[in-house]
């Protein structure tokens, strides 16, 4: 039964550099890495040292507080570097890949076995394979707690955030794997998972008409399971729903079917500073250079791993993490604006607001850069953040509550409903770092809860 959730509030960024739907194979990288530096809610404990031999699927590091949150090697070979960042936080474990890689072997599960498998046994397998962190739990979006039965599980096939892989690309020929994954989730949750897709993509996924349980219409971040939960929940018991991204579910399914840690990944390289934006079949933990070399525009370019609104800036010599499926290239834009630019009509100036002439013209895409477009000011209550917030938080009041130390009040405002989409910061004319403040408050609250 397909039902449609309509008119989700938000905003579609008009950014150029959309990836083409053509899938290109990248050559096998010489090195791959497991990235820890950009993981949230994880305090990694290292299990290997430089020079160790590892197989595909060998344990590299695990969370000190939650042993089920393990991260396993995406390549077989030698640990060639362990990089640390500021305050000696583990950044990445780099593996130089052998020509003939060795695999850790895990038990295989066939379709028939899945019908009768014990939930605890299934969890044990996924944990052992290092894929448990792929299943996330709301409201904090950390790894799911296996000891709890979730009130719901969402599988979201696509993301409206620029620019994530399209489901019609990564699901091509792998529909059976998705079906298998959904059966796995059924065992884990004790109930069928809800598959969501945005309307345009749902129409393109012909083979999966029966699978998609909810079509979504609206603007970014309509795809987000947190938004879907917010719009559909009827009681506070549902707040701890689980979710998983479509491509991640394929990894779990592949792992259970083959008994080996899956290393394949389809990622996008896109953005205005990408010369050939597109989809690429490569490996988990691929060096960024393997993607960007020969595909980056000249000038100062910022590499954003993950989407352009929520992703992290990454140094050029870094790697794509387990959760990162997109690499967006943006011009740095560190030049001052036009002479008296604020007095110009702004036919070529994109904006959420109606303060420029561009708002009254046909919408088109713009090569946006990382310029902040304005100085820091106090909040002037323009209410733009409230208008875009997909979960009806009042960011301009919530952030004041946070800065005043009123934790209870900010929670009442719906701080934990926040999906961290970043739209409030995007539209703010005072350039207040709303997302950063809300995120930090959530993280601080999380640390106090644990």
């Amino acid at each position: 039964m397909v039902s449609t959730l309509h008119h989700i509030k938000g905003y579609n960024l008009k950014l150029s550099g959309k990836p083409s739907a053509v899938l290109e194979d990248l050559p096998l990288p010489k090195q791959v890495a497991a990235v820890a530096g950009r993981l949230r809610f994880v305090k990694p404990r290292l299990a290997v040292k430089v020079g160790d031999r590892v197989k595909v699927g060998s344990l590299l590091f695990a969370d000190k507080r939650r042993p089920e949150v393990q991260f396993r090697s995406p390549g077989g070979g030698t640990v060639s570097a362990v990089n640390f960042g500021p305050r000696r936080r583990l950044q990445e474990v780099v593996i130089t890949v052998d020509l003939e890689e060795a695999f850790e072997e895990f038990p295989r599960i066939s379709g028939a076995e899945l019908d009768s498998i014990d939930r605890a046994r299934l969890i044990e397998l996924i944990v052992a394979g290092g894929l448990w962190p792929l299943i996330r739990e709301l409201p904090f979006r950390d790894a799911a707690r296996p000891e709890n039965l979730p009130p719901a599980v969402f599988v979201y096939l696509d993301s409206l955030e620029p620019f994530h892989p399209l489901p019609q690309v990564y699901l091509q020929g792998r529909e059976d794997l998705l079906q298998f994954g959904l059966r796995v989730l059924h065992v884990l949750a004790g109930a069928p998972a809800l598959v969501t897709a945005c309307r345009d993509n749902a129409q393109a996924l012909n083979g999966l008409k029966e699978v998609i349980g909810r079509r979504l219409t609206g603007r970014y971040p309509a795809h987000d399971p947190g938004v879907v939960l917010y719009r559909t929940k009827t009681s506070a018991d549902q707040n701890h729903a689980w979710y998983i991204e479509g491509q991640d579910l394929l990894l779990i399914a592949e792992f259970l079917q083959t008994g080996r840690f899956p290393t394949g990944r389809i990622v996008t390289l896109a953005g205005p500073a990408a010369t050939r934006p597109g989809h690429f079949r490569t490996r988990i933990g691929v060096p960024l250079a393997a993607l960007t070399d020969g595909r980056t525009a000249a000038g100062e370019v910022r590499l954003v791993a993950g989407g352009v609104l929520t992703g992290n800036p990454t140094p050029r010599d870094s790697y794509l993490g387990l959760f990162e499926k997109a690499l967006v290239l943006l011009a740095e834009g560190n030049t001052s604006g036009d002479f008296l630019g604020w007095t110009l009509p702004g036919a070529q100036t994109p904006s959420y607001s109606r303060a420029f002439l561009s708002s009254f013209r046909r919408p088109r895409e713009f090569p946006l850069d990382c310029n902040r477009h304005g100085g820091l000011r106090a909040c002037i209550q323009c209410n733009f953040c409230t208008q875009v917030c997909p979960v009806d938080i009042l960011p301009q009041l919530t952030y004041k509550a946070i800065l005043a130390g009123e934790v209870e009040e900010s929670l009442d405002h719906g701080l934990l409903d926040c999906v961290e989409c970043g739209l409030c910061s995007l539209v703010c004319p005072s350039k207040i770092e709303l997302l950063k403040i809300l995120r930090q408050a959530r993280e601080q609250f999380y640390e106090e809860m644990i």
């Binding site: 100085g375 000011r377 739209l423």
Partner: protein
């Protein structure tokens, strides 16, 4: 390369760390940012930001006010020539207007900028462009005869007490331009009220020609003891079209209802003013006017029988509705109570006009009064809104 850009680039080292004028770096940066948007980039996600900044936001209000200045300059000269019995030639009238208005604007901006720059430099933050809107609004609300030292004092009070002591634009709870205006009203009533202050007389004249009445429509209305106010207005030369186009003695730029309507539509279109406040205002005026009509009888004050639409045409009503009530900082933030806020402003203004003999016009005071209630209104709607949320608190 732009010569202005070259100038800034050549002087920057003097204000940078270790430079001779290091202390004034913020002042330098503030002046530079007027000409060129800063080159600053984002340091946290989202990595792209919207093109709109506060400078643009405030600039649009000033754009809306520019026609009022053009009108004000003309009207000041026009009334002056009428009152002085001079021929109504266009350019001489404009010259009188310019002579009167430009010094007031210059003084307002100079003094206002001085205070803002002082606070910004001491507090080490950039100048907030709210200042420029305040300084654009303030002279338009003044009588053209206001002495310049009082203009300076008024804007000082508005900027410092109305805004800076609370932390600057965005943190003030009163409209700074109105705060300054109200200060002058109470501190110097002789120069801000009465019939004589609204017209600049030609040099050498002490009184207007006999046929000229210097009283504003509101003062005329208040003096009516019985009969129809509209009748008295038209006898005094205040026909419906005069009131609509604003060609009568009044504060410099606030009398033209037509421009206020156009300005309000412009601000709503570009998304700076909230239509809720404006609609609430208008409804409030009409509701109060209608209510008074219902209780009006031949024995009550003639004000009670005035057609409610006239309330929107006279005094500072239209100007206050378009530019003062819509100030997002001093208005409530929540959309629902913005209707209430506007409605209350309309109601109270009409009630003050009809029942308070001390004030011919009340909208300025009423807006400041409702500014004080804005946080309370917000709190009420916030409480109601949060009650509807499904809690999510672990």
């Amino acid at each position: 390369m732009n010569p202005v850009k070259r100038l800034f680039d050549s002087q920057r080292h003097r204000f940078a760390k270790g430079g001779r004028f290091e202390k004034y770096f913020f002042l330098f940066e503030n002046i530079e940012s007027v000409f060129f948007a800063p080159a600053a980039v984002t340091t946290a996600s989202p990595h792209v930001r919207d093109s709109l900044d506060v400078k643009r936001f405030m600039f649009l209000v000033i754009v809306a006010l520019l026609p009022h200045y053009a009108f004000g300059i003309f009207n000041v000269g026009y009334q002056s020539h009428r009152a002085s019995g001079l021929p109504l030639d266009f350019w001489p009238m404009v010259w009188v207007g310019l002579k009167t208005v430009v010094p007031m604007v210059v003084v307002t901006y100079a003094v206002g900028y001085f205070w803002e720059a002082l606070f910004a430099t001491v507090r080490r933050h950039e100048i907030s462009e709210g200042l420029f809107v305040t300084c654009a609004l303030f002279p338009l609300t003044l009588p053209p005869t206001q002495p310049l030292w009082q203009v300076a004092l008024g804007i000082s009070f508005g900027i410092v007490i109305g805004k800076e002591i609370f932390g600057g634009t965005g943190r003030n709870f009163l409209n700074p331009a109105l705060t300054g205006r109200a200060f002058l009203y109470f501190a110097y009533p002789a120069q801000t009220s009465g019939d004589a202050v609204w017209t600049v007389l030609a040099a050498g004249r002490t009184a207007p020609v006999d046929a000229f009445t210097g009283a504003t429509p509101l003062a005329v209305a208040q003096a009516v003891e019985s009969g129809s106010i509209v009748q008295v207005w038209s006898e005094a030369g205040y026909s419906l079209s005069t009131l609509f186009f604003g060609l009568y003695p009044d504060s410099i730029g606030a009398s033209c209802t037509l421009l206020c309507i156009l300005g309000a539509l412009f601000l709503i279109t570009v998304g700076v003013a909230d239509y809720r406040i404006i609609c609430g205002d208008i409804l409030g005026f009409l509701a109060a006017g209608t209510l008074l009509n219902l209780v009006a009888s031949p024995t009550t004050s003639p004000y009670l029988g005035l057609n409610p639409f006239y309330h929107l045409l006279v005094g500072g009503a239209a100007f206050g509705i378009a530019y003062m009530t819509t100030d997002p900082v001093s208005a409530p933030a929540m959309p629902g109570v913005r209707w209430v806020y506007g409605f209350m402003i309309g109601m109270l203004t009409v009630l003050i006009r009809a029942f308070n003999p001390a004030f011919p016009e009340g909208i300025g005071i009423v807006i400041l009064f409702m500014n004080c209630f804005a946080p309370l209104l917000d709190e009420i709607q916030l409480k109601a809104r949060l009650k509807k949320r499904i809690p999510n608190v672990q």
